[in-house]
């Protein structure tokens, strides 16, 4: 579904490349998380996959990005929009303000794509139901909370039925409740299947719980690309500033202080942590 070959990109007026010789493939239906410290090139990668590089942000680019059988650089943005959806950080700035109601905001993209009205009505209702905003369809988008606005942004993109959904830190400006709301929608989407998801996210506990695969970026390069437990556990990724989940940190401390002698990889999810800490060796130690 996604194929990136030797992608290198530098923004105008910068001397260092934001992405440096990045190559990877993502099969259809995969939930792929992208992690890494600030300025690692995560947002740049999102723009490159969704076509805003090179169509919106011009700069020096080499290599090739193919998404949903389209060569991104050779496809106009408007043609990419229906296939590749982009959701980003700031909930408020994603509300276009072109329409006065939540329903109208969700329909705006379809209006521009010329979708017939009957189809729009059905799809708007579906999208609002999916993100749990059905009851707020006639409200003004500005009246919604941050979490609700982010779900509205998600609905506005989902309603276009993209094959690839790209989310650039969609929960960074949300409180824990708002974060949970957004991830609940993503979980539902993944369960329904079919959509390929690229998620840039700092909240590693969520990444560990949801992603099929984690790509770690640092300094514009891929430093790890493996299942969540391998990447979030790796000392190299931690050293590069990727960070570790609370579960991993707690388990590592426990192991270092010989509180736990459980063998194998450290946990990255709650379930794995429960298994780690309830293994017999801990009980024996405490006894």
């Amino acid at each position: 579904m996604i194929s990136v070959r030797h992608l290198t990109f530098a923004y105008p007026l910068t001397s260092t490349a934001s992405l440096w010789d990045v190559s990877f493939d993502v099969p259809a239906g995969q939930f792929c998380a992208v992690v890494g410290p600030n300025r690692a090139g995560k947002s740049t990668l999102c723009y490159a996959l969704s076509g805003f590089i090179p169509h919106f942000y011009r700069g020096e680019i080499s290599g090739e990005v193919v998404v949903a059988d389209m060569v991104v650089a050779a496809t106009p943005l408007a043609a990419l929009v229906g296939k590749v959806g982009l959701v980003f950080q700031n909930p408020f700035n994603q509300i276009t303000g072109a329409r006065m109601t939540v329903r109208g905001e969700v329909a705006f993209g379809m209006e521009n794509l010329g979708v017939p009205r009957e189809d729009m009505l059905i799809r708007v209702n579906e999208a609002l139901e999916m993100v749990g905003l059905s009851g707020l369809a006639d409200r003004s988008p500005a009246q919604l909370s941050g979490g609700q606005q982010q779900r509205l942004a998600l609905a506005s993109v989902l309603v276009l039925r993209p094959q690839v959904l790209i989310l650039d830190e969609p929960t960074s400006q949300l409180d824990p409740l708002g974060t949970r709301e957004v991830f609940t929608v993503l979980a539902r989407l993944v369960e329904a299947g079919g959509t390929t998801v690229i998620l840039v996210e700092h909240k590693l506990e969520w990444v560990g719980a949801f992603a099929d695969r984690v790509i770690a970026l640092a300094g514009g390069q891929i430093i790890a690309d493996a299942p969540p437990r391998d990447v979030l556990n790796s000392p190299e990724a931690a050293a590069a500033g990727v960070g570790q989940t609370r579960y991993t940190q707690a388990a590592r401390r426990a192991r270092e202080s010989a509180l736990s002698t459980a063998a194998g990889a450290l946990p990255v999810t709650l379930e794995q942590a429960v298994r780690f800490f309830s293994s017999r060796s801990v009980d024996e130690h405490i006894a």
Partner: protein
């Protein structure tokens, strides 16, 4: 903080149900007739005989009156004081020490007030009963540029947000010791640290908003559709033309020398 800068008051009324262009034509007629017809009484007649009954029909009369008087009253007071007392020559009605009240001055003030009331009420009648997006859709359907329609609609929604951000910046700078009260030079000096972050943060927003718009295929060329549907009737179409014709006739009569009353 209100969520929208729009005056629109949704009500279940037949006037609300009219096509936005019909309401635009009516308001334009009230405005032009109120301002263009000479004399003291036509403007008030337009207000009491047309604008107010329509506002009552549209169930927005109270909102309209509530919005008209804070605008009209200061005008009324200053007009009566300045024009009533300072009028060269004319018939003296009453004398107050060195100044005297003139009949012609009062008449002029009353006529000016009538015009203001008619124009403001025409604007309010349209704004209170017409959703901004419906009006913009009606205009774009007739060739109005979508980009300008978008700017109007988004401004309506962004202004309250902008005000909230300005208030946040004001609080933030005050908490760092910026003095924003006192004599004028001090206030002026405080302006720069308030306006700069407001403009810079808004510029960052513009970039993200442009991306959000493009992510919804805003600049796509081709046939577009609309979720909102406007109901128009042959009767309203005829009525709109009639309004234009009658208005043109009345104004024509007024400005053709010799026929004017």
């Amino acid at each position: 903080m209100t969520s929208s800068f729009s005056l629109y008051a949704p009500r279940a009324s037949r006037y609300h149900d009219l096509h936005p262009l019909t309401k635009l034509a009516i308001s334009a007629a009230i405005m032009i007739a109120g301002a263009g017809l000479g004399g003291v009484w036509p403007a008030f007649a337009v207000f009491f005989a047309v604008a107010l009954p329509l506002a009552i029909w549209g169930k927005v009369a109270i909102s309209l009156l509530r919005a008209v008087w804070p605008i009209a009253l200061p005008f009324a007071i200053s007009l009566f004081l300045i024009r009533g007392f300072i009028w060269p020559g004319g018939t003296i009605i009453a004398t107050l020490g060195p100044i005297s009240l003139k009949a012609e001055g009062l008449e002029f003030a009353l006529a000016a007030l009538g015009r203001i009331v008619a124009m403001v009420s025409a604007f309010l009648l349209l704004s209170l009963t017409t959703a901004p997006d419906a009006l913009m859709l009606a205009l774009t359907e007739r060739g109005f540029p979508p980009m300008i329609a978008y700017i109007v609609l988004t401004t309506i929604q962004i202004v309250p947000r902008f005000q909230a951000r300005a208030a946040t910046i004001l609080d933030a700078q005050r908490s760092r010791g910026l003095e924003t009260e006192g004599w004028l030079p001090r206030r002026l000096r405080a302006l720069l640290p308030l306006v700069t972050p407001l403009i810079l943060s808004s510029l960052v927003d513009v970039e993200e908003r442009a991306i959000a718009l493009e992510a919804r295929a805003f600049s796509r060329v081709g046939v577009k559709t609309s979720l909102l549907v406007l109901r128009d009737t042959p009767f309203q179409r005829t009525a709109r033309w009639l309004i234009v014709v009658i208005l043109a006739a009345v104004m024509g009569l007024r400005f053709v020398p010799g026929i004017a009353p």
